[in-house]
């Protein structure tokens, strides 16, 4: 057990960030690319080393994976409550280390080609390093507050990277939106932490998650409005997770976040940061499961299922390929959430948990791959829109193949990675909740359909005339594609249930053939439909659009959620709350203060007449005064 090497994993990117950030102007762009990649390569190797040793050398004792914690006090609140900083090594954090490392490394390599010639090359790598640091910190966190700290930091890295093209107003507003929406969700998270900290007296995951610990056993001791306070806390924490993971209705920032450079979308908004919400729920899984018999977990399941369906429907109609991918991400995140939601705790009961983590892992690979491919395409045709693409398979063979692999993976076609993880999710859902299972299977079909819709739209379909002949991307960009494609093919064969489970004990997972057949069948139907509609140029799609009419329009406009939010923020919050307050402040609060001042001046203006400087008036006042005083005295004297 060597913690110093683990601690180095986040610290190296931090050092890279500081180096590139402070000496921004002094470092040549090329060098900064190398520094970034080199730093992350070291981190990746360390992560793999850690994972290897943890899973195969020392991690297991009595058939159960142990949790190793090393921490130091960062700040004291009270005698009992404190924020610790440290690293926690357990199956999911190690798994996340691998995911974050590999995707980050690939994205950084890819960015060296993709961002070539950009003004802010160094800045870009600095931000990526900052993100990696924060994400590592997040997955290694030992307690709620530490996770919150890094949670915010990944949020800000996301903000900086979405707003990377800061001269573009749409990017600026997208960045702002992403930050504020997630911040709003984090408000819930923070309040949840406060409640949790107060009632359980600790922020430590280890103490909180112990099924025999006081936190879980005493969940019923305090209740608020009919539910245990801990349930409330978990729901609020889940809101935080839902914000980061773009669950309905806090999803609106994710499509807009596509304004960032494509590698960023791949890294942050597909593979790593957005799964932080899933990770958070998984982190607190014992609490979610045991407190109030999983009340909060049910909410997780339904929110996940709904988001998954909702996003999949919208994804069908979008024409911006990055947005399709964004909604697809949201849909898959919903999948992971629902898997967590239907999971049990012990042994095979915990299939959902394991499936969720498994899907997180495979999804990170193939979704990053999809985004990088999309980036490669965008790089070639300089447009995000499907209408500007078509027939690209001739020009970009590697991208074509890798995209196809990723699409097959996400569609759940064996033997690609997505098949295995998805299958297990559906099995878990089937065993626990039929409604959610049907939603899941339907979404699987939709997923296959929209993914192949864009696949055919980009690489087949009509032969678009290009002004500049598109060309395959350079090696720095295709290498990550190939590498991730490889992982997308073989990733499914990892026996995940051996390593990552809710009770950390490991079990044997088998493929449930009837259910798998159904899932694959639905996926193939989706692909076939897409084939019919989009393989060759035809008007079937237009006919369908006309058939659905307003429904299509609704979906195309993402059910007007952006508009609703805009209405709430711009119209209500800004114009009905903020503006009146600002006006109220100037007019009434300040007006009162100024009014007091003015009244004083006015009064003095009035009184001033008495001090006229006219001796006669003074004489009169004098006489009158003397008389009155004398009379008063006499009166007092005599009475």
């Amino acid at each position: 057990m060597n913690f110093s090497s683990i601690i180095l994993i986040p610290l190296i990117p931090l050092a890279v960030f500081l180096l590139l950030g402070i000496f921004n102007k002094k470092i040549k762009p090329l060098a900064s690319g190398y520094i970034g990649v080199a730093g992350l390569l070291v981190s990746t190797l360390l992560s793999i080393n850690t994972a290897y040793h943890y899973f195969f050398v020392y991690g297991k004792s009595d058939g159960v994976y142990q949790t190793f914690v090393e921490k130091t006090v960062w700040m004291n609140f009270t005698d009992t409550l404190a924020i610790d900083m440290g690293v926690q090594i357990d199956p999911i954090s190690v798994m996340m280390l691998i995911v974050v490392s590999i995707v980050s490394l690939m994205v950084q390599i890819y960015s060296r080609g993709y961002m070539k010639g950009d003004d802010g090359y160094t800045k870009f790598f600095a931000f990526l390093a900052l993100f990696s640091f924060s994400m590592y910190g997040l997955v290694l966190a030992t307690n709620l507050f530490q996770i919150y700290i890094f949670w915010e930091l990944v949020g800000v890295s996301s903000y900086l990277l979405i707003g990377y093209y800061y001269t573009k107003p749409s990017a600026v507003s997208a960045a702002k939106k992403a930050f504020i929406v997630t911040r709003f969700a984090d408000l819930g998270f923070l309040i949840g932490i406060l409640i949790m900290g107060y009632y359980t007296g600790t922020y430590d995951f280890e103490t909180l998650n112990n099924p025999e610990g006081s936190a879980i056993l005493n969940w019923a001791s305090t209740s608020f409005m009919g539910l245990s306070v801990l349930t409330w806390a978990l729901i609020l924490i889940f809101i935080g997770g839902a914000g980061k993971s773009a669950m309905f209705p806090l999803h609106i920032w994710l499509p807009d976040a596509m304004e960032g450079p494509t590698p960023v979308s791949a890294l942050i908004h597909a593979a790593t940061m957005v799964v932080a919400g899933i990770f958070l729920v998984a982190r607190l899984f014992p609490m979610f499961y045991f407190v109030e018999e999983g009340f909060a977990l049910n909410i997780v399941a339904y929110v996940g299922a709904f988001s998954s369906l909702f996003a999949a429907i919208i994804a069908i109609t979008q024409t911006d390929i990055k947005r399709v991918l964004a909604f697809s991400t949201m849909s898959q995140l919903g999948y992971m959430m629902l898997a967590l939601g239907v999971s049990g705790y012990e042994g095979h009961e915990g299939l959902g948990y394991m499936a969720s983590m498994f899907h997180l892992f495979t999804h990170a690979m193939f979704k990053a791959l999809l985004f990088l491919c999309a980036g490669s395409v965008i790089h070639a045709v300089h447009s995000n829109y499907l209408k500007d693409m078509g027939g690209l398979r001739k020009y970009m063979p590697i991208t074509n193949i890798t995209f196809l692999i990723a699409a097959l993976a996400i569609a759940g076609v064996p033997p690609f990675a997505g098949f295995f993880s998805k299958d297990e999710i559906l099995v878990a859902a089937f065993e626990h909740n039929k409604l959610i299972y049907f939603i899941g299977i339907f979404v699987a079909g939709l997923t296959a359909f929209y993914m192949f819709r864009i696949y055919f739209g980009i690489f087949w379909g009509k032969d678009t005339k290009y002004e500049q002949k598109p060309h395959e991307s350079p090696l720095s960009m295709t290498f990550p594609l190939l590498f991730l494609a490889l992982l997308s093919i073989i990733g499914g064969f990892i026996p995940f249930s051996e390593f990552v489970t809710a009770d950390k004990a490991g079990f044997e997972a088998h493929i449930n053939y009837p259910l798998a057949a159904v899932a694959v069948g639905v996926g193939l139907i989706g692909i076939a439909l897409a084939w019919v509609f989009y393989k060759k140029e035809n008007d079937l799609a237009d006919k369908m659009v006309n058939f659905f009419g307003p429904l299509y329009q609704w979906t195309y406009d993402k059910f007007y959620f952006d508009e609703i939010y805009l209405f709430i923020t711009k119209k209500i919050l800004f114009n009905r709350v903020s503006a009146p307050i600002a006006k109220f402040d100037r007019k009434y609060v300040d007006g009162t203060m100024v009014g007091i001042g003015n009244k004083t001046v006015l009064a003095s203006e009035k009184i001033k007449g008495m001090q006229s400087g006219k001796v006669q008036d003074y004489a009169f006042a004098f006489v009158a005064g003397v008389v009155i005083i004398a009379l008063v005295f006499i009166y007092l004297w005599t009475s």
Partner: protein, 174 residues
């Protein structure tokens, strides 16, 4: 006999004093004042301070009144009517003055004066001796001070009244 004279004088004084402070013609006002001053001189005669009465007549009636008349003639047209204070102010002032008077009178009447019956006559030489002696009851120092004061006032009056040339006027205002 003296009683009657006193009452006559008192009435004259009060009536003309009132006339003097209410008259709207400047010159008349001054002349009424002259009557009052003469009445006061009469009182002095009555209580047997002849020297004082004479001084009163010469300095006040003769000097000051003339001075005032001159100034009136210099700065006023004879016909000019004076501005009068607001009625409310007049009433208020009268009330205050009447109350004050009442106060005075009650105080005076509630006090037992230890009057010493006498028929002494004070001669001019007594006064002169008192003014110029420096022993007990002598007033030589104040007398000298007053004379210096008078001199200073005289010089001051001349300088002020002399004024400056009109061309310098602007500078003065500034």
């Amino acid at each position: 006999m003296e009683r009657i004279i006193f009452y006559v004088l008192a009435v004259i004084m009060i009536v003309f004093a009132i006339a003097s402070v209410t008259s709207r013609k400047m010159l008349r006002s001054v002349i009424y004042l002259l009557f009052v001053l003469c009445g006061i001189a009469g009182i002095y005669f009555l209580i047997d301070y002849n020297f004082l009465a004479a001084i009163q007549l010469t300095v006040y009636a003769g000097g000051i009144i003339v001075l005032i008349i001159f100034s009136v003639l210099l700065v006023h047209h004879i016909e000019m009517e004076l501005e009068i204070a607001k009625i409310s102010k007049q009433i208020l002032t009268s009330i205050a003055c009447l109350l004050g008077l009442g106060l005075f009178l009650t105080t005076i009447y509630s006090y037992e004066f230890k009057v010493v019956e006498n028929t002494l006559t004070t001669t001019t030489s007594d006064i002169g001796a008192a003014l110029l002696s420096y022993g007990a009851g002598g007033f030589i120092l104040p007398f000298e001070v007053i004379s210096v004061l008078l001199l200073a006032a005289m010089i001051g009056a001349i300088i002020i009244a002399k004024g400056k040339k009109l061309t310098d006027k602007k500078d003065e205002i500034v």
